[in-house]
């Protein structure tokens, strides 16, 4: 640690994380670690039918069970006025009516129908087992294909139509482009449904206070967002709700907003006037928590004789389940399709459909279909045209000289390095050596493949609304130590560390003297926290602005006390120096003591203390970019894919902490690889989820990923600090990278690998269905 204390700059260093000590010693504070006196435990009775109506509910036996305190059905919550919010939904898409517990109709298996409160979770489950619900079942709408058929309304109030549609029309000129193009390439990519599967499931402890106040511990992506959500959902004044989320065991989009179970548990606590804990178990998490990525997109590319892109057409369909967190046809996914390429024209017909399945939630790079579709189809195109997949990229990627570059969807790309990261990855892989190895392997009946994919990641996402701004308060305490309260929030991101690195550098204090707090909505001000890869840019930017104010004040005080010019005052390692006058050196601690306790010595009229705050509205998008490359082997006998190498060549601007950056990339890539090779939420024809445990829902293990090789480029953007987001990129670019590697391995078979997951049975069938050339 000493080294860190002494170092001149912390940004850019692999500083060990402040969070780690408590987490490694088992002293983290996750939601289930919270115990409140008098707390009851909740369990839900959930629907086992996918569609239909509730005819009757008998809770008598459950209520009579010793240890059970209350059993509530939908009507029992009517004393409260509860609204569900769609924080990120398209303004044009109407939302279905929602209630915490199923209100007559059932729209998916796993819907909460009854909440049981008891002395322990086990007793609550005993009670739940005694509840009898009589359903009238109807044939459900389960698959995307069924949902697209629009045969019946999932929500009677919304009628029979797509949940949302986004159109970017084609025109005669575009039709002519396709008609005359030297090459037209079409393909359909299908992504199966995936579950976020954070290691900590959802959970909440709600403690009503006699004063009309409510304290809520909840596993979430921002305590401020959760507090705002509850305040609006229950129509309670914001100041009466305090949300605490110290440690959160992963979220990945699932915990962006509270949903039925959390709201039901809070409602039950308010009605019972007792603290209530609900901790989602893994079965619930895999069968009732919102899910993601069930989508397909048909891509049509027009290219000229030089394999330069002329136009693209997308037809997109997505199954967003019954109660999605946000209703939309993936507008961002459509908008980002051009990526870092010169694509002159794009037309889109995107549709989202409700179904009798779990609702959709944002999942790390919710728009990733753009890279998935574009990068896999570029490889298909290259193969069809007969050029190297690298070559098609080189001919179409924008260069530094072309920036700022406005895509055909109006997105302005600047300070991005797609060509450069591509060439770095190519060099790292040593493509020529690989091709020789691949050729030799094929003579032995072994199928090696190499895949590349390139993308730009829209980060920060100031798209208005709750994402408009983030807030930071930086305070030098009377001790000279620094505390910061920021509207960032970590679910593993390490923002306690990275924000402290930024603050230590900007303010000129030792890293160890900085403490960052982001876990309590009653401390600090609103911010959306994690989501949209925005914390470095937006949170870091807010902190940098606040520090600028604070530093000006410190310098003014120092100048006043030391009778020097403010311009000559420097703050470094917690000491205040006047340039050229070494004997005037004093500590920040002593200046702080003056600011708090000897206020008459301050410059006339100056506010006492050393606190500054700033609400920062970041740019709409700050783009990071990367090229990933993967080498894999597909076993000809079993269809099993083994990843042999993974190269991540990226540019996220100034890296606050390279270990954190690499950690974000690795985690995202692994989730993306899981989505391509292993993970699959499945439903049977009756709408029953059939991957309900971690035995059946397969997330990657330690042998599924090699050690990732990184190439870093640092091209700062023009925002404070020059940071760019990196949180979602791995999950965006990982999938097309591995798909392209598998496609390359299987290229002798002349097959396409665009139907996910690329499970052993699917790949074996593809190879067996064709003869290797």
């Amino acid at each position: 640690m000493n080294e860190m204390t002494q170092a001149a700059r912390f940004v850019g260093q692999r500083v060990p994380r402040k969070e780690d000590r408590r987490l490694l010693t088992g002293n983290g504070a996750y939601t289930d670690d919270i115990t409140v006196p008098g707390m009851l435990h909740a369990a839900f009775v959930r629907s086992y039918i996918a569609r239909g109506t509730i005819k009757s509910i008998n809770t008598d036996a459950a209520k009579a069970l010793p240890g059970v305190h209350a059993v509530y059905v939908a009507d029992d919550l009517r004393t409260l006025d509860i609204k569900f919010l769609q924080l990120y939904s398209s303004p044009t898409a109407p939302a279905p009516a929602m209630w915490p517990l199923a209100d007559g109709r059932i729209a998916h298996v796993g819907e909460p129908v009854v909440i049981v409160l008891a002395d322990s979770r086990a007793l609550a489950e005993d009670g739940a087992a005694l509840v009898e619900v009589d359903y009238e079942s109807e044939e459900p709408v389960v698959t995307l294909e069924q949902a697209r058929a629009l045969t019946k309304a999932i929500h009677p109030d919304l009628g029979v139509k797509p949940a949302d549609t986004m159109i970017v029309p084609s025109d005669d000129a575009m039709a002519e482009t396709f008609a005359k193009a030297a090459h037209v390439v079409t393909g359909t990519i299908r992504h199966q449904r995936q579950a976020h599967s954070p290691m900590e499931t959802r959970g909440v402890v709600a403690q009503p206070k006699g004063t009309g106040e409510l304290t809520v511990w909840v596993s979430c992506q921002s305590p401020h967002m959760a507090a705002r959500y509850l305040s609006e959902a229950f129509n309670l004044p914001a100041h009466s709700i305090r949300v605490i989320a110290k440690d959160v065991g992963g979220a990945f989009g699932l915990k962006v907003q509270l949903w039925r179970e959390e709201v039901a548990a809070v409602a039950a606590a308010l009605i019972a006037n007792r603290p209530v804990k609900w901790i989602e178990d893994r079965l619930e998490n895999l069968t009732s928590a919102n899910q993601a990525r069930e989508q397909e997109v048909t891509v049509k590319l027009a290219l000229d004789a030089d394999a330069k892109l002329l136009a693209a057409d997308l037809e997109y369909h997505s199954n967003i389940g019954a109660f999605p967190h946000g209703i939309g046809a993936n507008a961002l996914g459509m908008m980002m399709f051009p990526g870092p390429y010169r694509l002159p024209r794009l037309s889109v017909n995107a549709n989202a459909y409700f179904s009798n399945t779990c609702g959709e939630a944002a999942f790390r790079g919710p728009w990733m279909v753009e890279s998935l579709a574009r990068e896999t189809m570029l490889d298909v195109a290259a193969r069809q045209i007969g050029i190297d997949p690298l070559e098609i990229r080189r001919r179409n990627l924008i260069t530094r000289e072309e920036q700022p570059f406005t895509t055909c969807m109006g997105t302005v790309l600047n300070w991005v390095t797609p060509r450069e990261t591509l060439e770095l990855a190519v060099e790292k892989i040593d493509v020529a050596a690989f091709r020789a190895e691949q050729a030799k392997a094929r003579t032995e009946g072994r199928y090696l493949g190499l895949g590349f994919a390139t993308y730009v990641e829209p980060t920060t996402m100031n798209m208005g609304g709750v994402l408009s701004s983030e807030w930071a308060q930086v305070q030098v305490e009377p001790t000279g130590k620094v505390t910061a309260v920021i509207s960032t929030h970590s679910q593993g991101h390490g923002t306690e560390t990275t924000m402290a690195q930024v603050i230590a550098d900007e303010l000129g204090v030792p890293f160890n003297d900085v403490s960052v707090f982001e876990d309590d909505s009653s401390r600090g001000s609103f911010g959306a926290g994690a989501g949209g890869s925005r914390q470095a840019v937006a949170g870091g930017g807010a902190a940098i602005h606040a520090i600028a104010i604070l530093k000006a004040k410190i310098k003014a005080i120092a100048a006043h006390l030391l009778n020097a010019s403010a311009d000559a005052v420097e703050i470094e390692s917690g000491m205040i120096r006047v340039k050229g006058v070494e004997e005037m050196t004093t500590s920040l601690a002593s200046l702080a003591a003056t600011a708090y306790f000897e206020t008459p010595r301050l410059p006339p009229g100056m506010e006492a203390g050393l606190t500054a705050q700033y609400r920062y509205s970041p740019p709409p998008f700050v783009f990071s970019n990367a090229t990933h490359a993967c080498v894999c082997e597909v076993d000809r006998d079993t269809g099993v894919v083994k990843i042999l190498r993974w190269v991540a060549s990226e540019d996220c601007g100034v890296m606050i902490n390279p270990s954190v950056v690499e950690g974000q990339i690795a985690g995202g890539v692994t989730q993306g690889v899981g989505g391509v090779l292993m993970e699959q939420i499945r439903y049977d024809a009756d709408g029953n989820p059939t991957a309900a445990t971690f035995k059946d829902y397969l997330v990657p293990g330690i042998f599924d990923m090699p050690e990732i090789e990184y190439c870093h480029m640092i091209t700062p953007a023009d925002n404070p600090g020059g940071f760019k987001g990196i949180g979602e990129g791995g999950a965006i670019i990982g999938p097309p990278t591995i798909i392209n590697a598998v496609a390359d391995a299987l290229s002798p078979f002349g097959v396409r690998t665009l139907d996910l997951p690329l499970s052993p049975p699917r790949l074996l069938a593809l190879m067996d269905g064709a003869e290797a050339k």
Binding site: A129, L283, T638, R682, D696, L764
Partner: protein
């Protein structure tokens, strides 16, 4: 995900355990290593009235030699199999198989008898018992009996065990000299249930196969032998065997099912191919 209420007893003798089972009238379950039972309890897929914990019965644990066979007590931990010298000397195939059973952490609790008596069709130890022609020693109020592994399994998680009958030990007969044993499977991640896999034991005398045992996991409602393929192998000279053909024949004798992880076709096809490859390599490098 909490178990329904049950009573717990931890007898210290086989007699007492069997007595508890008898009194339970089918409502009792035996808790050995618990690595499968505990999830079933947590999911309320098993809701017994009494859980009979046999871990405190000293005589149920341990490896010994008896009548030309290796006797493995029912509650011998899977982890023990990996380090036990008697196993290494006389029944190394069992250790080969155990390496694929679960994970380090589950092998520290999981028992040989528990896995064998549960009869999960995709598990390694039931198929190994079949390939090694193990005898399963049980105790009930009616006394002791020995059941051939081949007669033991009746369906998925279903055996000929009576509700009041306890598996006390497995007897693995010594294999003939010059017997090559193989354990191969396709699993998505180490420790996952296999998509397909086999245990093979091939005795080679004077350059020809004199005895063959093949049993499959995840290829039917129970672990399954391939008697036709075994017979077809006998007498064949190493190096001249059409392993493609034998692999297909062996896999054709199975009865796999479709599930969310793999189709029956896949299991047969991939099974035949890993058989061909693994047996081929093993015989070549013998």
């Amino acid at each position: 995900m909490k178990a329904a209420p049950f009573d717990y007893v931890a007898p210290d003798s086989i007699e007492a355990a069997v007595d508890h089972l008898a009194r339970g009238g089918g409502e009792s379950v035996v808790l050995a290593g618990g690595q499968t039972l505990m999830p079933l309890l947590a999911l309320r897929m098993a809701t017994p009235s009494v859980v009979v914990d046999i871990n405190r019965i000293a005589e149920l644990s341990g490896v010994s030699r008896l009548d030309g066979a290796t006797r493995v007590g029912a509650t011998t931990r899977q982890a023990t199999i990996l380090t036990d010298p008697t196993i290494a000397a006389h029944a190394p195939t069992l250790a080969q198989a155990v390496r694929n059973v679960g994970h380090h952490q589950t092998r520290n609790r999981g028992t040989v008898g528990g896995s064998v008596s549960l009869g999960e069709p995709a598990a390694e130890l039931p198929a190994t018992a079949l390939a090694l022609e193990a005898m399963i020693e049980t105790r009930s109020p009616r006394g002791t009996r020995r059941i051939a592994a081949g007669d033991f399994y009746t369906g998925p998680y279903s055996t000929v065990l009576e509700p009041d009958e306890l598996v006390v030990a497995l007897h693995y007969p010594d294999l003939p000299a010059n017997t090559l044993t193989l354990v191969h499977e396709v699993a998505r991640r180490p420790g996952d249930f296999a998509l397909t896999g086999f245990i093979g034991a091939f005795t080679v005398d004077g350059g020809a196969i004199s005895r063959a045992r093949i049993s499959w996991l995840a290829m039917g409602p129970t672990p399954m032998r391939s008697p036709k393929a075994e017979a077809a192998l006998v007498g064949q000279r190493v190096g001249q065997i059409d392993l493609d053909e034998i692999g297909r024949l062996a896999a054709s004798e199975t009865d796999p099912m479709d599930d969310g992880h793999a189709s029956a076709d896949y299991r047969r096809t991939a099974g035949a191919r890993i058989f061909r490859r693994a047996v081929g390599q093993a015989l070549e490098t013998r």
